[in-house]
């Protein structure tokens, strides 16, 4: 028995999971060949679980920008922005993000997790209220825990429940509502128009985390707020560089005139080392690519539709309409683990998501589609889902006529 005894229940669950096949938490790729292919145990594996929505991780111009910055400015900043100063590229990236969203100010964080942690823990404080969607990402919950505001949850994607909970709060104190553009597990989007209306009626502030919707939704790729036509009602947009933009880091943009005061108030911004120049440069270039090549988004959309409708036709229970996140929902946890293992053995990598990380206690095989997937890769993935689904009795065997 050690100081870690309190985690014994986790250890038991983890050991049980490992006894059923490969360890989903430590899958190791010996090489990553492209945005959509990796080498695992000597064989090519199609990647359908990497959030690499626009497939920009191997974009030649992003790689080139990264190398150039690496050669010019070195491997790292070795300190925080407030202590060591900013590099020119940090401020250029902040300006580029603000311009992209049509906002006055932008602020860059070292990870997307820290962006939520920092903004959510800082913009509301003692005497204020944070109102979170119950299915919020861990970074949002952790931001809530780090801060001093009272934290209230409303039922997932339920504007009426939000309205009711806001009405219960006293007049005094700022209220910040936090929702996500696309929810990462099920791929569903927030009913943002209705939420924006509730927000306006209550005189609250609204933060939308567009981590999975940046570059995916909206005519210009600005996310759900753009797609829903409510950008003016959103006070803070938070996002990440680690999905669509293919690197790592996080940001927040806003029109608040005094937004920059956060640079000396927001601890997860102040007390961590800033992003290395090479990542800033490749992120900037990825943002350029996103804006200058609408074909990327069109391909992502058509790939998402193809994959979603393929699995839908097979008869799987799916999480939401076609977004790049496609969740196959299975009732049984052991079945999901077996399914996931069989897919991996067959050369297809998806994400295995189990309770408590999933809504409604469901077990999920979560796929993320990329603009870089070929039609052939998508059809191979659908075929593998069909084969394993039949083998494990999730799908009834197809009549011969349908296989033609």
């Amino acid at each position: 028995m050690t100081i870690l005894e309190k985690f014994s229940h986790l250890r038991v669950a983890y050991e049980q999971l490992r006894s059923l096949g490969s360890d989903p938490f430590t899958v190791r790729f010996d090489g990553v060949l492209s945005p959509t292919e990796g080498l695992r145990e000597g064989r090519r594996t199609i990647l359908f679980g990497t959030n690499n929505y626009l497939g920009l991780t191997f974009d030649p111009s992003c790689i080139e920008a990264g190398i150039e910055a690496l050669m010019q400015s070195g491997t790292g900043t070795t300190g925080s922005r407030i202590a060591n100063g900013s590099y020119d590229a940090h401020t250029r990236l902040e300006q580029a993000l603000a311009d992209f969203y049509g906002r006055r100010r932008g602020m860059v964080f070292t990870t997307g997790y820290q962006a939520n942690l920092g903004i959510i823990s800082t913009v509301v404080g003692k005497g204020d209220y944070l109102i979170l969607d119950a299915d919020s990402h861990a970074s949002i919950y952790d931001g809530a825990r780090l801060g001093t505001a009272q934290v209230i949850r409303f039922r997932h994607n339920d504007p009426e429940d939000l309205r009711k909970r806001l009405a219960r709060l006293p007049q005094a104190g700022n209220k910040l509502i936090v929702v996500e553009g696309i929810y990462s597990m099920m791929g569903d989007t927030a009913p943002l128009r209705e939420i924006a209306q509730v927000k306006a009626e209550a005189g609250a502030y609204l933060l939308v985390d567009e981590a999975h919707s940046l570059g995916v939704l909206g005519r210009q790729g600005r996310g759900l707020a753009e797609a829903a036509g409510v950008e003016a009602d959103v006070d803070f947009i938070v996002g990440t560089f680690s999905k669509t933009l293919g690197s790592i880091g996080g940001f927040c943009v806003s029109d608040l005139p005094d937004f920059d005061v956060l640079r000396v108030a927001c601890r997860p911004y102040m007390f961590t080392a800033s992003l290395p120049p090479t990542l800033v440069a490749s992120t900037l270039q990825a943002l350029n690519r996103l804006q200058s090549d609408p074909g990327l988004r069109a391909r992502l959309l058509s790939n998402s539709r193809r994959f979603h409708s393929g699995l839908d036709r097979l008869g799987f229970r799916l999480g939401a309409d076609a977004t790049p996140i496609v969740a196959v929902v299975l009732e049984d946890r052991d079945l999901a683990v077996a399914f996931w293992n069989r897919l991996l053995e067959a050369g297809l990598y998806v994400n295995l998501a189990l309770p408590p990380a999933t809504p409604d206690g469901s077990a999920i095989l979560r796929s993320s589609v990329s603009a870089a997937h070929t039609v052939q890769q998508i059809d191979t993935a659908i075929g593998l889902f069909a084969a394993v689904g039949e083998e494990l009795g999730v799908l009834s065997p197809r009549p011969l006529a349908a296989m033609a």
Binding site: A134, A144, R145, Q150, V151, I152, R153, R155, K164, R165, R168, L169, P355, P356, P359, D360, G361
Partner: protein
Amino acid sequence: MHALDALEERIVAELRAVVDPNIEISRNTDISRDLGLDSLTIMNFVMKLEDAFDLSIPLERLPEIQTVADLAKTIRDIQAKV
């Protein structure tokens, strides 16, 4: 054993809906430890209670709640402040 007051009765009634009928529930029952409920069921149970009493229990107050009696006390505190 103390008799349940009206508020505790109500909490127990809501718990009965989600707990194995063979498990006994008293005011000293530890809600997360003794009832075999997962965190999601507990969250839904709390939300149902919030609706029943038309109040919201802030997330940061959940750690102070272990037993049925603790939950009743927290609800009473919040009601007193509104």
